[in-house]
Symmetry: C2
Subunit: 309 residues, 2 copies
DNA sequence: GATGCTTACGATACCCGTAAAGATA
DNA sequence: TATCTTTACGGGTATCGTAAGCATC
């Protein structure tokens, strides 16, 4: 048994049992992949995969049980490597952050610029992704930190902490009649609406609020990010509902937020980490730049619950 | 990085940084051990050991942190192997039980004979050991199950379950005057005593009881097991204090237990397992033969707390 | 016929152990 | 001096990739 064999087993599942794809992802040959799987199965005396002829179809029962252990081993070895980097190059290395457009565009810029000042040698990788993709990146170990409002709190394998709270704002062209009216869900429902895609930036909360009020709304368009939404609102296609911070500190001349108390429930952007993932020292600093009360100790306690010190 | 390197790191600590000993234990050459350590340190870019000249003295800071991860990796790989055996040879294999003399001699025989009937092909290895040694065997992965009254409950890395409760008995030669007296700590303290070694079979409870009563006692001899104690009690060297089950079902003609309510607090023999250690199916059966209410589900829950099913 | 898996085989790198030299107590 | 660690070096093995053959869709 060796690490390459374990990597291959894990990647075979991730690549839907296509060994050619596995070989490409792991930068090796298909023949080697094939042989490694055979060798491991021989050594363990168990068939890890269900086959149909030569093709692999799925994990066998023992294969399923094994996969969990394999993933733990590989998680630990990646932790070992990061731990070593932490000591060999304390303030150098890579920090990989997976986040949504909203956070990357409106919440993170000040954090990131302060972080870069503190750790100029750390290479920042910003994966922009959907909340679902972001979860996958964290679970695969391809990202150290995930930041999003959606999805992350519901995944057991992730630890997450509140980052900040925010509300949705309603925006309309500067000359729109809504600016003169008292804003309510009812009045809003009279206009065609433009807002986020399903699963993005609190969209579910918006739907729920209208549903609860028994209102049918006409969402003429949905987009991934506030910039796109603002563009189409400016064109007069409808009234926009976007995250409030997407309007702050911006001098949009064509559209304007409607001044009114929030119509939709408070949202919480969260910072998420894969349970058991070893974080470099500067990663803890990054998190503390986001939320000053999240100290390294507090995070570690949640991340590595079995550590007893 | 490979498994052999990790094994060597772990074993180096266990062998007090004597690489020659490491090589012997791992059945390889000292030169290989030396090179593997160098290679790993090079790859990680960190010195894992503190050296004085050529000799290794201790773990460095990163080495200490690394060790925990290394041990998890090796624990998981041994779990992988056992899991594979579980499927490839369901009712064959090895079950390694570490236990004290008292349990091996008086409590386990019926359990073991029933187990052997149920799993004739399983090779039973009975490590007889002191409670401290028993803990080490469990933590090293050299034993699957530990059974003892002492020590195991105090170790965080072990999960333990109550097996059965027992009391100490006072024994004396058949013609001893104590048989006619009312038994109390005071009367007992008038005689020279023979009992277990420190750290064995509830000895600490005995000391504590006399201390609490403000009594000074003359322990003329201490031994590891009840058989030895009984022998010297029969010779008239003193009054014995042994585990009650060491007198049951035995036709000792020269010594006899004194009929009286128990003088010392109740003791609990416990079944202990290393947290995270994968147990074969028959190991769960063994435990259930000891204590019928300890089902596989209940034990698994404690052993692998992170599993979410 | 296109894609995917396996076998054969040669080149390379890796791992191990012996022997000898160098450090340390 | 005895014990321990490291370096040098040779033999063996494992791993990898190319190429070709074969199965599957």
């Amino acid at each position: 048994m060796n690490f390459q064999q374990l990597r291959i087993v894990r990647e075979t599942v991730r690549q839907n049992f296509n060994l050619t794809a596995v070989a490409q992802v792991l930068f090796t040959s298909a023949s080697g992949v094939s042989k490694h799987i055979k060798d491991l199965e021989n050594e363990l005396g168990v068939e890890l995969f269900i086959r149909k002829g030569k093709r692999l179809l799925a994990l066998s029962e023992p294969g399923k049980e094994l996969l969990g252990m394999v993933e733990r081993v590989l998680l630990d070895t990646s932790n070992i490597k990061r731990l070593a980097e932490q000591y060999s190059q304390r303030d150098e290395g890579q920090l990989s952050i997976a986040t949504t457009h909203t956070q990357a565009r409106y919440a993170l810029p000040p954090v990131i610029s302060r972080f870069k000042q503190a750790f100029p040698k750390v290479q920042l990788v910003l994966h922009q992704a959907s909340p679902q993709e972001l979860v996958r990146l964290l679970l695969n170990g391809d990202a150290d930190i995930g930041i999003a409002t959606e999805a992350v709190a519901a995944v057991d394998e992730l630890v997450s902490f509140p980052y900040y709270h925010w509300h949705h704002s309603v925006i309309a062209p500067v000359d729109h009649p809504l600016h003169q009216q008292t804003l309510s869900l009812q009045t809003l429902a009279n206009y065609p609406l433009i807002t986020y895609h399903q699963g993005f930036t609190g969209r579910s909360e918006i739907d729920q609020a209208f549903n609860a009020a028994g209102l049918n709304v006409d969402i003429v368009m949905s987009a991934l990010d506030a910039d796109v939404i603002k563009t189409y609102v400016a064109l007069g296609m409808g009234v926009g509902i976007i995250a409030a911070m997407a309007m702050e500190n911006h001098h949009d001349t064509q559209v304007q937020a409607i001044k009114a108390p929030p119509l939709f429930a408070q949202q919480t952007a969260r910072i998420a980490i894969h349970r058991g993932h070893y974080l470099r020292g500067f990663a803890y600093h990054f998190i503390q730049l986001c939320a000053a009360d999240l100290s390294e100790d507090i995070i570690r306690q949640q991340l590595h619950p079995t550590e007893l010190i």
